[in-house]
């Protein structure tokens, strides 16, 4: 399959489904779903295909599309998550207004992301990047109100990043007079410190804003929590990772591994930023009460893990970072879709202080959140564990124990906020107002099952994906790593999930045998719980508010989002200065005439003074 055919199919599908929405809304849903399925099939069939096509010129610049192993893995993840989000949208967006715009923009974002990963030169990448950013803005502010503010924050920062990226592209062009990747990689290794540093900084700003690295993360929490849930899952799962793709392209394809390793100072700054990105959002997420905001802050933290892997520049760390990208897409999209299902069934409630006990009413959604949370934490036998293990090992063996410490303590913070999420939503007492909540509809259950499968499968048999990623890192210039179906088999320390799986299975069998020695339990209702002999107060016998209050004071110093305050204050300052300047326009014609007279008088005076 040629990459341009894939992108063209995506675009056609988007336009067709939008137009058919004017005829019949069901037809639009069906076309959107079919497009996504066809894309997934087309991409899976082009495994191992490697090519490069020129698709024309734009103002004299050649436009090239290419496909290689890196593009393929990104494209597969993008289309798979989009498919799940589209199926989920059937019931979630049913009956809402602006559905035509929603589906069109969703599929347009999909097209743009596929275009980004299939682009073979910087101009194509920039065109598709801008399409993606603007379509995302329209989708984030779909619901208006607070979503509009979130969208404004997003688009301002995104445009700033795009301008930085444009500056970097122009600089590269001025150095080498070409923008095509394959030609640029020939120049890799011939850079001077000054120019390479400029390129790195400009592109780091551009891709870092999209990737939500500290200090560019401020747009992410409001945007992800205010967007509609299926789009939140795409945002967190794959849109952020376009920044990852950009990092990989810049660091390993354009600049080259050897040159990048010479920049010890810049890499050190990147390590520190990655460590901060892992720790600070984790602690901020602990204190959140809104389920989607908690997940949004969690996305920032996990993006820090991926960035740490990619900038650490060893084969195992890049492998771990890319694998964590695939895993994060799976479990974060799963979590956002499950929270969206709960939000749908409880009429828009996502406040963790009010929910509880939903395990009895929505068991499949609970299982989905449980699997997603286990993947997020990195419990062995789920996919997050393998990618995090690879990251830790590369950090420890690579002589960076402080960065490894940041990553490890990030995982413990993740345990805390993940348990808060699952406990406040599903465990505890079921409030009276949610006693009749129904299970999630079928079109919401299918994508949750589809996304839960890779979380478990890649946890037990990570070799499936690791083999694909191994060819990616070989193409980036690293040595190949021995991969088996069950894990990694290198000489400095291996991991085989089969032993862990067998050990846990053995433990479960022993526990079941022991339990069978006892008597059969009596099933009781939730009102029959211990309350020191008193009656259970309905709706009040629940512990959700301020779940981690004892340590809130201790971690409060780590949670001050100074950068967000800085941005908000700067924006407020600029607004003040501009409104002061605006006072020049009084709207009164008399003052304007006075301005003209004063200016003419000034000109006359200057002329007279000059002639002396």
């Amino acid at each position: 399959m040629n990459p341009q055919i894939i992108v063209l199919t995506a675009l056609t599908g988007a336009v067709l489904s939008w137009l058919s929405g004017y005829i019949y809304s069901r037809l639009r849903d069906i076309l959107a779903g079919m497009t996504s399925v066809i894309l997934v099939l087309m991409i899976s069939l082009s495994h191992g295909y490697s090519c490069s096509f020129s698709i024309g010129t734009f103002m004299g610049f050649p436009l090239v599309m290419q496909m290689n192993s890196l593009s393929w893995i990104f494209a597969l993840t993008i289309s798979a998550v989009t498919l799940c989000a589209v199926i989920f949208s059937y019931s979630y967006m049913h009956g809402k207004e602006n559905n035509g715009l929603y589906y069109f923009m969703l599929l347009l974002v999909n097209t743009a992301m596929l275009g980004i990963v299939f682009s073979g030169d910087f101009l194509t990448l920039f065109i598709f990047w801008e399409i993606m950013s603007w379509a995302t803005f329209l989708l984030i502010s779909l619901k208006k109100g607070k979503a509009l503010e979130a969208g404004m924050k997003y688009i301002i920062m995104s445009v700033f990043g795009s301008m930085a990226m444009l500056g970097g592209i122009l600089y590269i062009y001025s150095l080498h007079h070409t923008l095509v990747f394959s030609k640029l990689s020939a120049f890799a290794g011939t850079y001077q410190p000054g120019s390479t540093a400029a390129i790195l900084i400009l592109f780091f700003i551009g891709f870092g804003i999209k990737h939500a690295v500290i200090p560019f993360h401020s747009w992410l929490p409001p945007a992800h929590s205010e967007a509609v849930s299926p789009f939140s899952s795409i945002l967190s799962g794959i849109l952020i990772k376009m920044g990852t793709y950009g990092f990989v392209v810049i660091i390993y394809i354009v600049i080259g591994l050897k040159t990048f390793l010479l920049f010890a100072g810049f890499r050190y700054i990147l390590h520190v930023l990655a460590a901060m990105t892992i720790i600070v959002p984790t602690f901020i997420a602990l204190r959140q009460d809104d389920a989607k905001r908690l997940l949004a802050w969690s996305t920032v933290a996990q993006a820090g893990y991926i960035m740490a892997g990619i900038v650490f520049s060893t084969g195992l760390s890049v492998l771990g970072g890319l694998f964590h990208f695939v895993n994060h897409a799976a479990f974060k999209a799963l979590l956002f879709l499950a929270v969206g299902a709960v939000e749908y069934r409880t009429n828009g409630v996502r406040d963790l202080n009010r929910l509880g006990g939903l395990i009895k009413r929505m068991p499949l959604t609970f299982s989905a959140v449980l699997i997603g949370v286990c993947g997020l934490i990195g419990v062995p036998l789920f996919n997050g564990f393998v990618s995090k293990w690879m990251l830790y090992k590369s950090l420890i063996m690579g002589g960076s124990p402080l960065l490894a410490f940041a990553a490890l303590i990030g995982t413990w913070g993740t345990v805390l906020y993940s348990y808060k999420l699952i406990h406040n939503m599903f465990l505890g007492q079921l409030p009276r107002e949610y006693k009749d909540v129904e299970k999630a509809p079928l079109s919401m259950r299918i994508p949750m099952v589809l996304l839960a499968l890779p979380v478990v499968l890649f946890g037990i048999m990570p070799g499936i994906v690791l083999r694909w990623l191994n060819s990616v890192i070989v193409s980036l210039g690293f040595k190949s790593i021995k991969i088996t179906l069950w894990g990694i088999a290198s000489s400095t320390g291996s991991v085989h999930m089969i032993y862990i799986a067998a050990a846990v299975l053995g433990g479960v069998i022993v526990a079941l045998l022991l339990l069978s020695l006892g008597k059969k339990p009596i099933r009781i209702a939730q009102e029959d719980t211990y309350a020191a002999g008193a009656a259970i107060p309905e709706d009040k016998y629940n512990f959700t508010v301020d779940f981690y209050s004892p340590i809130s004071k201790t971690i409060a110093p780590f949670c001050k989002d100074i950068i967000d305050t800085f941005y908000t204050k700067t924006a407020a300052g600029i607004v003040k200065v501009c409104s002061m300047i605006r006072k020049v326009y009084t709207g009164y014609v008399g003052t304007y005439v006075m301005y003209i007279i004063f200016f003419l008088a000034a000109l006359v005076i200057v002329q007279l003074a000059w002639s002396f």
């Binding site: 006990g357 395990i359 068991p363 449980l370 286990c374 062995p380 293990w389 090992k393 420890i396 063996m397 124990p401 490894a404 410490f405 490890l408 303590i409 413990w412 913070g413 345990v415 805390l416 348990y419 808060k420 699952i422 406990h423 599903f426 465990l427 505890g428 400095t492 320390g493 291996s494 991991v495 032993y499 862990i500 050990a503 846990v504 053995g506 433990g507 479960v508 022993v510 526990a511 022991l514 339990l515 020695l517 006892g518 008597k519 339990p521 009596i522 099933r523 009781i524 939730q526 211990y530 309350a531 020191a532 016998y541 629940n542 512990f543 959700t544 981690y548 004892p550 340590i551 201790t554």
Partner: protein, 301 residues
């Protein structure tokens, strides 16, 4: 004691059984030793076994599938970790990714307990679990620094290599840069084991035994077994990492008993710290010591 000649499958089957019995023995020693410190007689050492047998003969109540499954998962997680820790000269499951796998498998048992007690719909359980997670965050900061110090010093992820390196030279506890981390580990050992002054999780008087509040019958029995196993696992981890493991399982057992009695001497006379006091203390002195140890090791190379 020619255990090395046994078939690995027999070792895998015998290790959990031996660990369960050792866990019961440790719990019995706990009660007897604490009683003797209190100038009374205390129950016989087999009392935990009697308690568990009594619990298994009672008819429990269940709050649902997650309630049932979580308890099974918690014991399964504890049993799974056992196979990855060397006990004396019994080799752990190889090809297992070392200390990181142990660290992550240790997560499974409390997670199972947390999910299961949450379905009991009792706020005492929720408070207990939130305290447990916060206390874990508290002692994980110094513990991770200590483990990273060891991994950097010995240049390996595998606990088996660390034990062998110590058996060839000397205990890490008395080595020059590592004794700082050793002292830090001794300071956080009560928190890891869940004994006073860090017994805030199962504060029987404050929150009605926290996560255990709705467990009866066999579920309670399994949770007590898991408590015993946790004692064995954490003490074994300390003995392996800082006291050089042992050449045979009997010497290993003796070392574990010494550490247990040392911890119990503190447990018997200290009150309980509040969660915020415990966490701020753990993030101050032990973390500072562990960080000093890590930086010393990083500079030493």
């Amino acid at each position: 004691m020619e255990l090395l000649n046994m078939h690995p499958l027999i070792v895998i089957v015998l290790t959990p059984i031996a660990a369960l019995l050792a866990g019961l023995f440790f719990m019995g020693v706990t009660r007897k030793f604490t009683a003797r410190i209190h100038w009374r007689y205390g129950p016989p050492i087999t009392q935990p076994l009697i308690d568990i047998m009594r619990m298994f003969s009672q008819r429990p109540v269940s709050h649902g599938t997650m309630f049932h499954g979580g308890v099974i998962l918690s014991l399964a997680g504890a049993l799974a970790v056992l196979l990855f820790i060397p006990f004396g000269n019994i080799p752990p499951l190889s090809g297992s990714g070392g200390l990181l796998v142990i660290l992550y498998l240790l997560l499974v048992a409390p997670l199972g307990l947390a999910l299961s007690s949450g379905e009991g719909a009792n706020p005492n359980a929720s408070i207990g679990i939130s305290r447990k997670l916060m206390l874990s965050l508290g002692y994980e900061v110094p513990l991770l620094l200590i483990l990273l110090t060891l991994m950097t010093r010995y240049g390996t992820l595998s606990i088996y290599d660390i034990v062998h390196a110590q058996q060839e030279t000397q205990w890490a506890l008395v080595t020059v840069p590592l004794f700082i981390s050793g002292i830090a580990y001794i300071l956080i050992l009560p928190a890891v084991l869940g004994i006073r002054p860090f017994e805030v999780v199962q504060a029987a008087q404050e929150i009605s035994s926290g996560p255990l509040v709705e467990y009866s019958g066999p579920y309670l029995g399994l949770v007590h077994l898991e408590h015993g196993l946790t004692l064995v696992i954490n003490i074994a981890l300390f003995v392996n990492l800082f006291m050089g493991g042992a050449q045979n399982i009997l010497l290993f057992f003796v070392k574990m008993i010494i550490i247990l009695l040392a911890g119990l001497s503190i447990n018997a006379v200290f009150p309980r710290l509040r969660t915020d006091q415990a966490v701020s203390w753990l993030w101050r002195w032990p973390a500072l010591l562990a960080l000093t140890g890590l930086i010393t090791v990083m500079i030493w190379r």
